[in-house]
């Protein structure tokens, strides 16, 4: 796969504070790449450097294998932090201005306004928009030049649940078209739902990168309930059981490596027990994230 973004030793110091420390990272084409980290972990600073608004202290990065220039930025769609537009201009005029800056045809404006459902409000001044509309206009602006790479920094910040769902659907729709997306967020659920890969930052250090699918790997937990009195003992008899806990009226069985829920199910069935509740519980990104953060110092 083609490398879209390659970062080598990228560092940013603000006085004595090290915001980003010796970061190395690669993003390949077609990935939906989530950048996770607590507030102040250096996500926005990193994206700011990638988009030319923050001067790196040391290190380098390349887009599509080329050294970064303003010309390359024109091909990337980016929304950093919160939406930024001229408040006294209408949505339409703001996009016209952005089209001029990005040197792309103004005929795209109607399409992107349709996509984010702002066509009806396009002639109203930006300052009259609600927060959700501002976010959507920012996404429209990022999509204006039909970019192959999209950078979104907390795109659902401050939105109501419906707005969050809308933006999430929009991201999935865009990703389905084969676009590479870099998504910074502290909403782990969001990243798990839309991302293919993720990286975790802590105090400016990159402490983890990998595919989101790997999150579920490792020891499996199975939630079981059956109408037999000695279920607990039977579960302990299973050779794949590492431990059994009782929680919320269900038995939580943690399995040893290389054992899966279907093995447990077969074991119970062979014993003549039919479970009326059996759920494989994948480890959530949230749990993994907290583990990663507590391990990294």
């Amino acid at each position: 796969m083609e490398t879209v973004l390659s970062i080598k030793g990228l560092t940013k110091n603000f006085g004595r504070l090290c915001a980003v420390n010796q970061m190395n990272l690669e993003v390949k084409q077609g990935q939906v790449f989530g950048m996770l980290g607590p507030n102040g972990s250096g996500k926005t600073t990193t994206l700011g450097m990638l988009m030319g608004v923050v001067n790196p202290t040391a290190g380098e990065f390349s887009w599509f294998g080329e050294a970064p220039t303003s010309g390359i930025r024109k091909k990337i769609g980016a929304v950093l932090e919160h939406p930024i537009f001229y408040p006294y201009l209408s949505g339409q005029k703001n996009l016209e201005l952005n089209a001029m800056i990005k040197e792309c045809p103004a005929s795209n404006i109607a399409n992107v306004l349709d996509l984010v459902e702002l066509t009806a409000r396009r002639d109203d001044k930006y300052k009259t928009y609600s927060l959700g509309m501002k976010q959507r206009l920012a996404i429209a602006s990022a999509l204006l030049n039909e970019p192959t790479v999209l950078i979104l920094d907390e795109p659902t910040n401050g939105l109501d649940p419906m707005g969050i769902a809308e933006i999430r659907e929009l991201i999935k729709k865009i990703a389905a078209n084969g676009k590479t997306i870099i998504l910074a967020s502290h909403l782990l659920d969001e990243v798990q739902k839309v991302c293919t890969h993720f990286a975790v930052l802590k105090k400016g250090n990159l402490v983890h990168t990998g595919p989101v699918d790997d999150v579920g790997k490792g020891a499996e937990t199975v939630e079981v309930q059956a109408d037999v009195p000695n279920l607990s003992d039977m579960l302990l008899d299973f050779s794949g059981t590492a431990s059994v806990n009782r929680e919320n009226g269900y038995f939580q069985v943690t399995l040893r490596d290389d054992f899966h829920s279907k093995d447990l199910n077969r074991f119970l069935f062979d014993k003549g027990v039919v479970a009326n509740h059996l759920v494989t519980k994948k480890k959530s990104l949230e749990k993994m994230f907290l583990e990663i953060l507590s391990e990294a110092h």
């Binding site: 608004v53 930024i84 001029m100 040197e103």
Partner: protein, 268 residues
Amino acid sequence: MLLHLLKIDLKKLTSYRTFWVVCGLYFITIGFSTASGMEFLKWLASLIDNFGQKINIERIPLYHFPDVWLNLVWWSGFFKVLVGIMVVISISNEYTYRTLRQNIIDGLSRWEFLLSKILTNLLLSVLSVVLIFFIALITGFIYTPEINWSYVFTDLEFYPAYLLEVFSYLSFALMLGILVQRSGLTIILLLLAHLLEFIIKTNVDNYVEWLIPYFPMESISALIKMPLYRYAFQQIQDYVDPLSVVIATAWMVAFNYISYLKLKRSDL
């Protein structure tokens, strides 16, 4: 490319109501103050009349060719501060709305962003010069008793000098805006610049008098000197001093270069 950058900045300004209000004020104040020049002379005459003396205002050729060129260009110089304030508002808006940051993210280079502002400054300067030229032309034709064409085309070198004066001043305003980033404080500094420089000048003129023509505000206003002394039978400088042009040009370049350095180095 240059035209493209200019269009970008004009797109921001032309939908901004404050821009039109300031431009309107500029036009109106220059137009009205010009129109009321003769009234002022009449008032002056009546004042002097009260002291038992008489002056013949017909003999003061304030608006006659070629005097009108220099008189109006000098008088309009006071109103360039209005355009300067507009430039400050335009640049500090980019900081307060954070649109400067977004412009860079969207694909302008920092130099292109600055260039779009400098080009607007140039356009505003040219428009000022054209505006004053036409006001002077019309006024000249109204008040000059006998049109002598060789007089009509005398003293026009003050117009290129005025262009340099306004453009240098707007470059100064832009630089202040980029350094300070807040409109209120920048406007105050812009208004105080002459006064601050005057205080420094009076403190140093006993020691390093030769240095004074090199001060920025002094060099800008030395391009076109006060012409009214000529009506008091004194000699005035009725030419543009090449040294002033060199100094003012140097400052103009320096202002824009400082803007560039500051913009290049800062994290937005």
